[in-house]
């Protein structure tokens, strides 16, 4: 790891002032479980690390009586499981998918959202967009078994690694950001962007902005679930995941729905057409399976990842059934 200078500011404004104006100069240190590994491999080489763990404003989880919730960026993955296993299962189940207690204890909500892609080309030093010397991506004809099946028209083919983002999209949450000009809120879906250069990031943050928390709107009467299709139960990222949030009336007809997909695209994917299809329906296995088909209608396999399309369909179906049965 390259050497760096280190600061532990006590307030958000101090932290923002200590961050550089260009990506690569400085990094925000929270749990460190991803960042330090990237730095050991010289993928990320900041000159300064700004530890935000001493900033009290970023801590804590607050549930309000109307079923809404406010989660600080420093809330750990483990705290999410404790806080939401009854009230918002989609979040607790997504957090439980991170199967290492060490990661759950150290890893934070902000870190999960800002985690860099797990693409092995990126991690091996080929750059975020994994391009060869002619500027062509190595992914479409390379080993792309874990790469994108949606939103994969280039230039990025990696999948967003966030465990929580699909649930936040399904729940229509907002992400709060603090920067030199104060605070701003972004829809969870819009927070994530597909980068077009190696030096860009996969999220809507400026280099001197910090994710400060997540707000989840009222979840009263909302049934939610996350289903991950995994290669193994032990520590690994899912092959495909789906989070759903569904509201039903007394007659068990769906009145509102949200569906987020994980590990299928360079951004966490909002399956809005599949969610719209559910409205007015009574959930059964056929309806859930049809929603899965609609969610993946635009999917396009690369040379080695066609299997992921079916896995993602099944994830949608099972998440819907898990939430509503």
């Amino acid at each position: 790891m390259h050497n760096f200078e280190y600061a532990s500011p006590k307030t958000l404004d101090q932290a923002v002032a200590l961050l550089g104006g260009n990506w690569g100069e400085t990094e925000v240190l929270a749990g460190g479980t991803d960042l330090l590994s990237l730095m050991k491999d010289f993928i990320v080489t900041p000159k300064r690390m700004v530890n935000i763990k001493d900033i009290p404003d970023l801590k804590g989880i607050r549930m309000v009586r109307d079923g809404s919730a406010r989660i600080g960026a420093l809330a750990t993955i483990e705290q999410l499981i404790d806080a939401f296993s009854k009230s918002i299962p989609a979040i607790a189940q997504a957090a439980s998918g991170i199967t290492s207690p060490q990661i759950r204890n150290m890893g934070t909500v902000g870190g999960d959202l800002c985690q860099r892609p797990r693409c092995w080309y990126y991690r091996a030093g080929y750059g975020l967009l994994a391009r060869d010397e002619n500027g062509q991506s190595l992914v479409p004809n390379g080993d792309n078994r874990y790469h994108a099946i949606l939103g994969n028209n280039g230039p990025a083919y990696f999948v967003n690694p966030s465990s929580l983002a699909p649930a936040l999209i399904a729940l229509k949450a907002k992400i709060s950001i603090h920067g030199p000009n104060g605070k701003r809120d972004v829809d969870a879906e819009k927070f994530f962007v597909t980068p077009t250069s190696d030096s860009a990031r996969e999220y809507d943050l400026k280099p001197n902005e910090i994710v400060v928390g997540v707000s989840i709107p009222s979840t009263l009467g909302v049934r939610s679930a996350t289903y991950e299709v995994r290669q193994k139960e032990a520590l690994d990222w899912p092959l495909a995941s789906a989070s759903v949030a569904i509201k039903m009336d007394r007659a068990k007809k769906v009145t509102a729905a949200g569906i987020g997909l994980g590990h299928v695209a360079p951004v966490p994917w909002n399956a809005s057409q599949a969610a719209a299809f559910l409205v007015g329906k009574t959930i059964d296995e056929d309806v859930a399976a049809e929603a899965g088909k609609i969610a993946l209608a635009d999917a396009r396999a690369l040379s080695r990842n066609a299997y992921k399309i079916q896995l993602a369909r099944v994830a949608v179906k099972r998440a819907i059934l898990q939430a509503t049965m």
Binding site: M1, H2, N3, F4, E5, Y6, A7, S8, P9, K10, T11, D13, Q14, A15, V16, A17, L18, L29, G31, G32, T33, D34, L36, S37, M39, K40, F42, R48, M49, N51, K53, E78, S96, T99, S100, P101, Q102, I103, N105, M106, E233, A234, L235
Partner: protein, 222 residues
């Protein structure tokens, strides 16, 4: 550190590679352990004005740090990039936690920090200050193994033994939180540790034995 050797991921690696001198790094450190506990450098700190406040910015040179390890206060001097794991092993000669993947994956470096298991390879030593750190060295008391350690011995829960200190810490922490663990709690509690020899069967038997003992109140020295 000069830019010419910056591709080495930490300065201790250089010593390790250059061990033809006949002096192993660990023996060298053991011999000079007394000297290392004396603060070396007080520098490496500047004050930066940030949002109207004076914020200390440390490094990139060595800075003095104090760690609370197994109940004892230990002072050393490290660059900000040095992980808790490397500070324990290379600067403080506390070598129970092992460096294997060094990428927050395998669990061999597992220590307990403020009551929770963490990967010591992915915590900076400088940010571990003020936390209560417990390593496998802190479990044995008055020459008696901790019941979790004894259970690992009794159930042959290791082959090469390299993952064992991390597994013992993960097991102990899991049992502290769930004295009568369910199958799911065992899976969730030990899911962050790998054993390449595949002694999971023995480890599960050790967990069962240690859990029986903790339910009988036999575990009192953790």
């Amino acid at each position: 550190m000069s830019s010419s050797d910056e591709r080495h991921d930490n300065p201790q690696d250089l010593h390790e590679n250059g061990s033809q001198s006949g002096v192993s790094r660990r023996n060298f450190l053991k011999g000079s352990g007394v000297a290392l506990t004396i603060p070396l450098v007080a520098g490496g700190e500047k004050i930066v004005k940030a949002a109207g406040a004076d914020v200390p910015v440390l490094g990139p040179g060595k800075v003095n740090i104090t760690l609370n390890i197994n109940g004892a206060s230990r002072t050393t001097s490290v660059e900000p990039r040095i992980t808790l794991l490397d500070a324990l092993r290379n600067d403080l000669d506390i070598t129970g936690a092992k460096r294997v993947c060094d990428r927050a994956t395998c669990g061999a470096c597992t220590v307990v920090m403020d009551g929770n298991v963490v990967y010591a390879c992915s915590v900076l030593a400088i940010e571990a200050q003020g936390k209560k750190i417990q390593t496998v060295e802190g479990l044995e008391q008055n020459g008696r193994l901790h019941p979790v350690q004894q259970a690992f011995v009794d159930n042959d829960a290791q082959q090469c033994g390299f993952c064992t200190p991390g597994f013992v810490m993960a097991c102990k922490n899991m049992l502290d939180k769930h004295p009568a663990p369910t199958h799911e709690q065992i899976e969730m509690g030990l899911g962050g540790n790998l054993c390449r020899c595949g002694t999971y069967h023995g480890i599960k038997a050790a967990v069962a034995q240690a859990a029986r003992q903790s339910r009988r109140g036999g575990r009192r020295n953790g």
